[in-house]
Symmetry: C2
Subunit: 199 residues, 2 copies
């Protein structure tokens, strides 16, 4: 039984949390529904994401179940708004201290840095914010890898990288064979177009 | 100026529409915000997706802007519920007839078959529903390709395949270089884990 809590906030990048959400919920389904995934926000009511999608959280900061996995997405909210919100950073600090795993996607690493869990650690983030994160100090940004595991901290490169890191995590928690089954359900055999200049 | 309309309904699979949503909205952002992407549902209020996420639509079936691109996601709603809903299938029939492109992800192809646009066409769908779709008749299911373009119909394999097909579409609409810029923003350099049995 694994409980996944995905923090959402105004200007969170949609795919940053929906990619892992899909991985975690499919993982639970394939395990007979024993796991739980919830969206958590500071306030009730719709959260307006970075690209305009409005999503309803399942819980507030004070009424969610104990989390085995805390996931923080990126987006403008993670790098420019929530780092200055002590209600959210304090919650992240406390929740990460009790969770088995703390995970970020994209610029969620900047929010984890502001809240503490990324301090003194090796981390990945979106390619366009690697320097900015490094300049904040007391953190080592690892370039050119899809995600970084440092202790119980799992940080991912930009946006789509959360799918890969979430698949890694469910394999770590429930076995590589299980992760491969999740990948097969998602039919995740990526084929990005236009990799060649072939007209 | 391209207007993308993504249909959502109860039991729509989350990543099926959020993957393309991210691609279309990043495409618009990189083009200076000239394009529009909206979520459309039969009724106002939250739509509960296949894995429990609750999303608010932007428009109903009768109050959305004219669509250049109609996208239909998959999930249990697309294969077992909405095919029997003449309000939704009738809307799809009429809207697809006026759109420049009609797109499905995963088992959205079964809903497009019920509504008409996939009849007599070559299509892709989720690997576990290829036979079921073929048995419905008057359709050719193409296996082992990520997505299929037949005229102005673009159909995709399961769940994650919508990211690849949406990237193909923005390249077709706005050029391969533009699609590559969207892919770079999404940092879509996939690295699925556990591809080897390496312990």
């Amino acid at each position: 039984m694994t409980t996944y809590g995905l923090l959402i906030f105004e200007e969170a990048e949609e795919l940053d949390f929906v990619g892992p959400w899909e991985v975690f919920t499919v993982s639970s389904m394939l395990r007979g529904g024993v796991d739980t995934a919830v969206l958590i926000a500071e306030r009730p009511g719709p959260v307006r994401c970075a690209k305009g999608m409005r999503v309803l959280p399942d819980h507030g900061l004070d009424d969610h179940p104990p989390l085995d996995v805390l996931l923080v997405p990126g987006g403008k909210g993670a790098r420019a708004i929530e780092p200055g919100n002590p209600v959210v950073t304090g919650w992240i600090t406390r929740t990460a201290a009790q969770a088995e795993w703390t995970v970020s996607v994209c610029t969620g690493a900047l929010l984890l840095h502001a809240a503490g869990p990324a301090r003194g650690r090796r981390v990945a983030t979106h390619w366009s914010f690697e320097e900015e994160l490094e300049e904040r100090g007391d953190v080592t940004v690892v370039r050119d890898v899809r995600y970084v595991v440092d202790g119980n901290l799992l940080t991912s490169q930009g946006v789509s990288a959360g799918i890969d890191s979430a698949l890694w995590l469910v394999g770590r928690l429930h076995g590589p064979d299980h992760s491969r089954q999740v990948r097969r359900y998602l039919q995740y055999d990526p084929a990005p177009p236009y990799l060649a200049d072939a007209g």
